[in-house]
Symmetry: C2
Subunit: 502 residues, 2 copies
């Protein structure tokens, strides 16, 4: 990460400010194949230092402490590169340190080890068997554009991988290289402060470092948050390796919402305002943004409420010029499709070079084409007007997998039809939301952040306690004397981990 | 599975007897693309019938009952097609029905649902979240040659998938089509007897049905037991689908054994006899057969004991002519490699056309070549003589992933060196065996049957209780009123499943 001999020949990495659109100072150089190899080898060499759970817990807490102590600097760096604003980034940093501390607790408790002990049973001819989970090895993490902290260098993938005992090499997102450098330095300093090798966390820059990293023989698993196109390419590389590795990718999600006829009639203002708030939150740059909203045909009041509320919503600059261009082109392209009506025209905003205003489009269910079912990052949503249950069902049948699916019901719609509707949404998503909004992903044991492809490339979650399971594999010890067993598998259970016995 | 219009144009499937090598009666025809499509659609349509856990438990028990009631017929069919012998097949059937009943119990208990409930916490801004696991959809199962029951139609993959609530379509193994037909009929009759659609289990024949099945849009996951070549091809198809699906494949394993110098000196006769028994068991046709044994150079007594015991071992016919030819060619090829010594020559046996006698090869660690590290199915093992710890370490460094790794120690070898040796084996296998043998895979909660690639293409187990996890995905319900929640997520917990609350 320091400048090094030979780095002059590699391309510089600049920090850009979305409020101006101008590239700022150079903060790094792109990582070449040599840098990737060196980072992965250094991480692999650091793995034994993470063998002890108490050490991992201490590292996670020390990282959280250093991030919190440097909050002002971290938030300023992230704001300068993402324009997400100090309040949002303050919340995101709090979430990030909370995640690190939660995983520290989880590591100490040891339930994730899933210890099972079956003592020898000569009657069944069964030998003594003791199983626990062990870390997979070096984890490659691809940082997300839209969460410079919570889904980037010190984010959930990194926290859960370190908690599992896996060293991490992060591929920084080009939208926030300076924030990435700063956060990586803080985590590495936290390691060094505990006498651990700094290389428990490595950092790489540059597009080409991504495939190189996924191909590296010592990389054992990948965590990815990003686009369908980029994620799918890396997924395919992971699967095509001589030794394929798990690829846990979060790729894309429309997050459909269904509003029943009675809900639209009963709560037009509330639902309209809620939807506008949800799809414009963070300038529509959330993976759980509701991008497709099925509303009854003729729900003019609801449509009006959405438009009125969205028109008043404060949206800021998008994350980078490419994203802004893709948003404006994406909205324009959708608006030009047959049958699509523009209820609120998205466009450039004059508050900042990369700022945009939100858009609301509408189309009849019968005219919904495949192109309208692709995620459009940014503050836009598509209202799809259905005339009856068959049309609603037909649209749901066209959808791919999603992180979330939401339904808005009338207050007394709790009967078989509502149950059936929820059952219809179940195959489409990893989280079902009733009378609420998908934005806001709580970090909690009962959270699942994932869903059928392309929402996720695996059945795992990237948020919440069970995210740690992605970086572990079980190992059984057969007929192994206590002196050779990990302490977690001893009958005396000196570390007090949960054990399922016989 | 009944003969049907158009079936004349498809190739017949014959049942063959390994004791004669002759093809017997025709039992089916190969499945074409239409049959694959029909089977998968029928299975998908049957999925709702498996929604209720009590129904699934009843189905698993009814299937076990019918298999047990037809034991004589099932064992005779399997023996006629595999020549594995009545005692072994009686044991395998018992294991198969035990697996079905174990999963029935597990389904009823509901711990696998991994229910977590986080009640709303307004102070944290957290909505009510309730998570449980739900079935993935239709599971494709590829039956194994070497276990016509326990890893085939009514085997662990099928039992765990049905337990999870997933209908199953099995691709029969060509070595036992009649057994497959019989077992499928019994399971389907068990379903019909409970008023369930028979198509909760479908059966296909023929090589081409395999890729077709993995490509089918309605197939949601795959369970495979077989060769590296076949498994890798199907894995790659699963990963390349428009919607990639989980592929849980068990592909191949050398199952290395390390005998320390002191163990060889102390227990030569015991280890020699144990090894011979293990690698010739079931004619060496187990996925956990110890195929590579690291012994100290100069352990002549141990080598002699292995050879003497192996020469006396009773091995039967191999499963099919192709396998026998591959075994004989494989042994010959290895024996001809530089530095390889034949201690006991494998060859054809005169007891039956497909019968062979066991072989023992030996080579110095320094002369171990990559070709010698490929699994050779059948009763042969390779002794690798290491001169010191460095040579031992060098050989271990050349190994791919395995289902098991075994170590034989002297009685008082329990110190840091033994711990380090076990630590060295840990990255290489999913099960570590001390002073025992890997053959014999107990069905128990603490069992793990899987391992780093190519032992397995995933981090899951295909044996034991946690095998059910392969066919499930988590779903969170947010802010969902009790009337719309599955009973398992109710505060009142009417079904008494384990719930982790807050």
């Amino acid at each position: 990460m320091q400048s090094e001999p030979g780095s002059e020949s590699r391309r510089p990495v600049h920090s850009s400010d979305p409020r101006t659109g101008e590239p700022g100072v150079q903060v790094a150089v792109e990582s070449g194949p040599e840098q990737v190899d060196r980072a992965v080898r250094a991480a692999a060499a650091a793995a034994p230092a993470l063998a002890d759970r108490a050490v991992r817990a201490a590292l996670l807490r020390a990282a959280a402490d250093r991030l919190a102590a440097a909050a002002e600097e971290v938030i300023a760096a992230a704001d300068a590169e993402t324009a997400l604003g100090v309040p949002r980034l303050t919340g995101e940093l709090a979430r990030t340190t909370y995640q690190l501390r939660s995983f520290a607790e989880q590591v100490e408790q040891g339930a994730f080890l899933d210890v099972a002990i079956d003592r020898a049973d000569p009657a069944l001819g069964r030998p003594d068997l003791r199983r626990m989970k062990v870390p997979l090895g070096v984890v490659a993490v691809f940082a997300a554009s839209n969460f410079p902290l919570a889904f980037s260098v010190p984010g959930g993938d990194t926290a859960s991988a370190l908690a599992a005992g896996c060293p991490v090499v992060v591929k920084a997102h080009p939208d926030h290289p300076a924030t990435s450098e700063l956060c990586a330095r803080l985590v590495r300093e936290a390691a060094a402060g505990l006498g651990l090798p700094e290389d428990v966390l490595g950092l790489l820059h540059g597009f080409d470092a991504g495939p190189e990293l996924v191909r590296h023989p010592l990389v054992a698993a990948v965590g990815f948050t990003g686009s369908v196109r980029g994620g799918r390419a890396l997924h395919d590389i992971a699967a095509a390796r001589p030794r394929p590795i798990p690829f846990h990718g979060e790729l894309g999600s429309l997050n459909p919402v269904v509003v029943t006829e009675r809900a639209a009639a009963e709560r037009a203002a509330e639902i309209g305002a809620g939807l506008a708030g949800s799809f414009t939150l963070g300038s529509g740059q959330f993976c759980v943004k509701p991008g497709l909203v099925l509303i009854p045909a003729g729900a003019g009041e609801l449509e009006q409420e959405v438009v009125t509320a969205a028109a008043k919503a404060a949206t800021g600059p998008l994350l980078d010029p490419r994203m802004r261009a893709a948003f404006l082109a994406g909205v324009q392209d959708r608006a030009a499709r047959p049958g699509v009506q523009t209820l609120l025209a998205a466009g450039p905003a004059d508050t900042a070079p990369l700022a945009v205003t939100p858009g609301v489009l509408a189309v009849a269910a019968a005219e919904l084409s495949e192109e309208l079912l692709e995620e459009c990052f940014g503050p836009v949503t598509l209202l799809v007007r259905y005339r009856d249950a068959d049309e609603l069902d037909g649209v749901l049948g066209q959808l791919s997998g999603n992180l979330t699916a939401t339904v808005h019901l009338a207050e007394d719609e709790r009967g078989p039809e509502a149950v059936a509707l929820l059952g219809r949404l179940l195959p489409l998503a990893g989280r079902l939301v009733v009378d609420g909004w998908p934005t806001g992903v709580a970090v909690a044991p009962a959270m699942h952040h994932g869903g059928p492809y392309p929402a996720s490339t695996s059945t795992s979650t990237s948020v919440g306690a069970t995210a740690i399971e992605r970086w572990l594999r079980p190992v059984s010890y057969q007929n192994t004397p206590p002196e050779l067993l990990p302490a977690e598998l001893h009958d005396t259970n000196p570390l007090g981990v949960p054990q399922r016995i016989n």
